[in-house]
């Protein structure tokens, strides 16, 4: 029998950091607190730790690219992340979804919108326990924001360089 391992420490988790990262994706403070609790406060310790680490890293990436324009991402469409209550207790309408939706625009890079492929992707991303589904949605927001920033940059060839050109003696390779 393998030796018993204790759960990893999650003392490094600082919910306020993730709260700040998701501020534009979930503007309402109470809604955001609920989402952050689900991502960082529920489920096994290693899930919580992973969510924190990956969201922080993605947040850093977005910051270094110039910040996130979540409003623009939201305008291009979102899908609700449903709560997984027992089917016979489901209530029709938007009240049984999480306050954090899943943006569709980043997924359109992988599969055209309104296709079975994209629908399957949405389903995969929003399936599973809430700490997975909401962390996935949060990551797609951040990845989408990063892609948007990268998309705004001019292509490398069009960028002017301040480095002086030097004549190369070697002929170009054929």
């Amino acid at each position: 029998m393998p030796p018993h391992r204790s759960a990893p420490s999650t003392a490094f988790i600082d919910p306020s950091r993730i709260d700040a990262i998701l501020a534009s994706a979930v503007p309402d403070a109470e809604d955001r607190a609920f989402v952050v609790r689900c991502i960082l406060g529920e489920g096994p310790a290693h899930h919580r730790g992973v969510n924190y680490v990956l969201l922080r890293l993605l947040g850093l990436l977005v910051d270094r690219l110039g910040g996130a324009d979540m409003a623009a991402l939201r305008e291009r469409g979102t899908m609700p992340v449903p709560m997984k209550v027992p089917p016979h207790l489901e209530r029709q309408g938007s009240l049984m979804t999480y306050p954090l939706a899943l943006p569709i625009a980043p997924l359109s890079e992988l599969a055209p919108a309104a296709t079975p492929e994209q629908s399957a992707m949405v389903e995969c991303l929003s399936d599973g326990p809430p700490q997975h589904a909401l962390a996935n949605a949060a990551m797609v927001w951040l990845i989408g924001a990063a892609l948007d920033r990268i998309g705004e940059r001019p292509p490398a060839s069009a960028r002017t360089s301040t480095r002086p050109r030097t004549k190369s003696s070697a002929p170009p390779k054929r």
């Binding site: 609920f34 207790l89 306050p99």
Partner: protein
Amino acid sequence: MTQADVELPAGLDQAFGAVAGELGQATSSWLFVRAVARCAGDRAVEGLADTAGPQFVVLDAVARGWLAGVREQVVDPRPVLEAIGSATRLVVVGVEATFLDALVARINPAVKIAMIAHSPFAVDWDRVLDNYGGRVERVDLDTFQHWAGGKSALLTFAYGQNDSRTIVAPLWLRACGADVRAQFRALVGWNVLEAPMNLYPRWLVEVDVDSFTHFVPGT
């Protein structure tokens, strides 16, 4: 017959058990303590704590608190309303009539309220809900998740706080499992017992204060 001559009748523990489920242990305790004090004085309140207290620890706490000078019940729903915030649905886990009455009287009329009809005591749930004139609906332990959602809150009553621990009805643990915790935006504990409990909490169970999103101290 003076107050000092009035003896406590036998069977008060049976009497308390008959109402604790319907009014709540804290509400019932205050009712009993006031009645006993009015008719038979503080010495009888001590007798009440000695006879019925071991079985009903909330009654013991309220009676001992009375003897220590705590003569008024603090009922202020405002912090609970803040904790509930903009929730549009509220599911109440457990019964405490005095406190729930105060909350229902102050809460936004647009908030829908339900009560989980489950108790270790015998309860006439129709009578409990009739007191709210249709304002509070009845749900069961196996169907209350129908009320889950991003704008839903769960509320229960807590009986004292000791550092990081508090005491609640076991129904809270049955209702607020790992799945339910992520389906209600706010998990609110409302402390309804000012005086600390000195005895092992029969009928009740200890939990971490941190297990709530909002813990209202009540004092």
